[in-house]
Amino acid sequence: MAEKIFSQVGESEVTRAIVKSFLEQFYSFATTDVIIVGAGPSGLIAGRELAKKSVKVLIVERNNYLGGGFWIGGYLMNKVTVRSPGEKVLQELGVPCVEHVKGLWVADGPHACSKLIASACDAGVKFANMTMFDDLVLREGNRVAGVVINWTPVSALPREITCVDPVALESKLVIDCTGHDACVVRKLQERGIIKMKGFGAMWVEMSEDLVVEHTSEVHPGLIVAGMSVSTVFGLPRMGPTFGSMLLSGLKAAQVALEKLNIK
């Protein structure tokens, strides 16, 4: 009898392997240092930087895929652009990029995005994908202390059968990297705790600096990064250029490290 290529393992062991490893991770990450909501470029880079410093990080992503809009540039074309000094981050990740005109760099979206995801994973970031951010966990003085989540498909079920309670995860800090929606800060706004200003018109030359410089802790326990910064502070939007997403993610990580007293 010819020898088989793959080892002989039955279906039940495959199931046990999935369930055990998933549940062990989920059990462990019921309490974390930092939860990042949104696995776009700012969330991934923030997570990577924190994990490199041994911070326990979980990124919650509503889609099955990670990377957000970083796979494609504008108009469904899969070339991403960064303005200087954003190319330094791409080069550090090992992503080939070329200078299109002085100060503007272009890279392949799939290459840049997959390298960034791999780099976050290598640093130790864990993910809860297909997971919807549902609400915030609040403590004394409305300090943010975690997130409430549910499976993404639950939101697609008919209302009659959607009585599926979410679960909560606790963390020292939460970072909102949900893009223009600013879903996490919006929950504070719904409770009258914060007032967002909404993002302005496109003005690329101005918006990128402003987004990076306004990346900060907007409420105790809640840091805002990426395009959600623009929505929270009423800054101009920037269009299909990603340098400030990467730099805002780095700044968010720096703010988080300061809050966690980690050098």
Partner: protein, 247 residues
């Protein structure tokens, strides 16, 4: 006694400042004082107060007159950092009239004295709410004090239409080529023609002060013309001549 006070809130050379003073002195032989805007801020309290009020007068939506009613600590910090950082001007948008109000309230002398022509030369972006229910970026806002924005000179008057057409269709190489070939038709911040254009706007401030008249002229060759296009600026303000009606 009438005098002119120029407050510099941007990175320009001493030589430029001397040229502007000489130009103003030609218009009226009077005492001309030059100060760095930051010198007005005497202590930490004044710095914090100004930083907070600057954050409050930010324009956050071009089609909504309401200003920044809820201020976050990071916005105050941003304003603080940029008040003394002449290397990098603020990238935010501000209400021009509210800025004038702040200066008058914070420093009644010299900003409410009609005997003093106070001009703030800045790299901030100022907007005014107009009758079409939108904010518009401005080069100069006449009043007490007069606000003259270098960035406004570059960004408020529109470049030629071809520029926006190329920008709209995303033709970046063609856009760069167009920019290289048409430098004579628009201004940049570090442009040798800026000095003469600034003199044109200084003239507007001076005319307003002497005649208490902020009406623009209809003659596109007159320095008092309200230029909406860069090419108009490069004619009216660059040449800074008065038309026969205003001479």
């Amino acid at each position: 006694m009438n005098s002119i006070h120029l407050f510099v809130d941007c990175l320009i050379t001493q030589q430029e400042i001397q040229e502007y003073c000489a130009f103003l002195y030609e218009l009226l032989e009077t005492e001309i004082t030059v100060s760095a805007f930051a010198e007005l801020i005497e202590n930490e309290d004044a710095l914090l107060r100004l930083a907070r009020t600057l954050a409050e007068i930010r324009v956050t939506q071009l089609d909504n007159q309401e200003l920044n009613t809820t201020v976050f600590p990071v916005e105050i910090e941003y304003e603080k950092n940029h008040l003394f950082n002449s290397q990098k001007s603020s990238q935010c948008l501000y209400s021009g009239y509210e800025y004038q109000n702040i200066l008058r309230k914070e420093w009644p002398f010299p900003f409410t004295q009609k005997k003093i022509l106070s001009i703030v030369l800045t790299d901030r972006r100022f907007l005014t709410w107009e009758t079409d229910c939108r904010y518009h970026l401005r080069t100069v806002i006449l009043g007490y004090p007069c606000i003259l924005s270098r960035v406004g000179i570059v960004e408020a008057p529109a470049k030629p239409k071809e520029y926006y057409l190329l920008k709209h269709i995303g033709a970046s190489i063609e856009l760069q080529n167009w920019l290289s070939a048409n430098r004579h038709r628009y201004l940049e911040l570090e442009d040798t023609r800026m000095k003469e254009v600034i003199k044109g706007y200084l003239f507007q401030c001076f005319y307003f002060w002497i005649h208490h008249d902020n009406e623009f002229c209809d003659n596109s060759n007159c320095v008092l013309y309200n230029s909406h296009w860069q090419e108009e600026v490069l004619n009216a303000q660059f040449n800074h001549h008065l038309c026969p009606k205003h001479t």
